[in-house]
Amino acid sequence: MVLLTMMAALTVAIVVQRNLFAVVVLAGIYSFLMATVLVALDAVDVAMTEASVGAGISTVLLLAALHLTRGDEVKPMRRPMLPLAVATVVGAALVYGTLGLPAFSDPQAPIHTHVVPRYLAESLKETGVPNVVTSVLASYRGYDTLGETTVVFTAGAGVIALLRRRRREEPGK
């Protein structure tokens, strides 16, 4: 609860803050708080990813991008009333949607009764890997992870395609 309150306060600070350097640092702190929340939920693997990717690499990449642009957010030309309305409606719809979810850590929730018991009971026997997260990720759901890896690959290929051509043109200028 304390963590979530701090995260809410940070979100407000990020929205109010106009200096982008401060925004990047605050976003890093937000990611670390998120990682702490995930540790509190016993999702250590996800927390580790959040801490290393969200707080570590993204902060550095955003700082590198910030180096190429100006450090302050530009004042918007018009008052963003329509986006505000859309965001409010979508947020309200999402909150309404959470009302239909099963209670937190309810053992009868559909997600806990479908394939999870089999994974938990058979994973060690079938794969010889004690960490169920790893065996689900790499073996039972291997196709999904292949897709994820391809997404990461596509991101890298896109960055190369967009930014490398520019560099080659420079010496010819």
């Binding site: 250590v44 693997d45 927390a47 580790m48 990813t49 290393s52 990717v53 570590g56 690499i57 550095v60 990449l61 590198a64 991008a65 180096h67 190429l68 642009t69 100006r70 026997k125 079938e126 794969t127 010889g128 890997v129 004690p130 960490n131 997260v133 790893t134 065996s135 990720l137 790499a138 073996s139 291997g142 196709y143 992870t145 292949l146 994820e148 890896t149 391809t150 990461v152 690959f153 991101a155 890298g156 290929a157 960055v159 190369i160 930014l163 490398r164 520019r166 560099r167 420079e170």
Partner: protein
């Protein structure tokens, strides 16, 4: 930051341990938290740390662009190759049971190579993005 003695010494001391920790996260992912994705990010973080302290040109000499860019695709190829190896040995695509003499060892071997592929691609992509962003100059009118 290239002239800061404390930073240089601390960076040289820390980077081997960061890389060692990445390997630990990679290979201990079967038993504790971690795996290919996290290990790849930590490897990239070590290289980016080196780049921040010693400068981008020195890093590009140490880890040249062609290595980084081939890592991006090599990881996906390793992952897909595990699937094809399963096909060639008579199983389904990404079926690890056929990779060794008994199913459990096959699973372990498959998971090992799949995680290695994920780590290679992720660290390659992270380093590529950093190289591309950090390698660009500011536009002249903003400098």
């Amino acid at each position: 930051m290239r002239r800061d003695l404390v930073l240089r010494v601390v960076a040289k001391l820390l980077i081997p341990f960061v890389l060692l920790f990445a390997l630990y996260v990679q290979f201990h992912g079967d038993f504790g938290p971690g795996g290919g994705f996290q290990a790849g990010v930590i490897i990239a973080a070590a290289v980016i740390f080196y780049a921040i302290v010693f400068g981008l040109p020195a890093t590009r000499r140490l880890v040249p662009d062609w290595i980084v860019e081939s890592m991006v695709s090599a990881g996906v190829l390793v992952y897909g190759g595990v699937g094809v190896a399963g096909l060639l040995l008579g199983g389904n695509y990404l079926d690890y049971f056929v990779l060794a003499h008994d199913p459990v060892h096959g699973q372990e071997r498959g998971i090992f190579w799949v995680e290695a592929g994920v780590a290679i691609t992720v660290s390659g992509v992270m380093m590529t993005i950093f190289y591309m962003f950090a390698g660009r100059r500011r536009e002249p009118d903003e400098a």
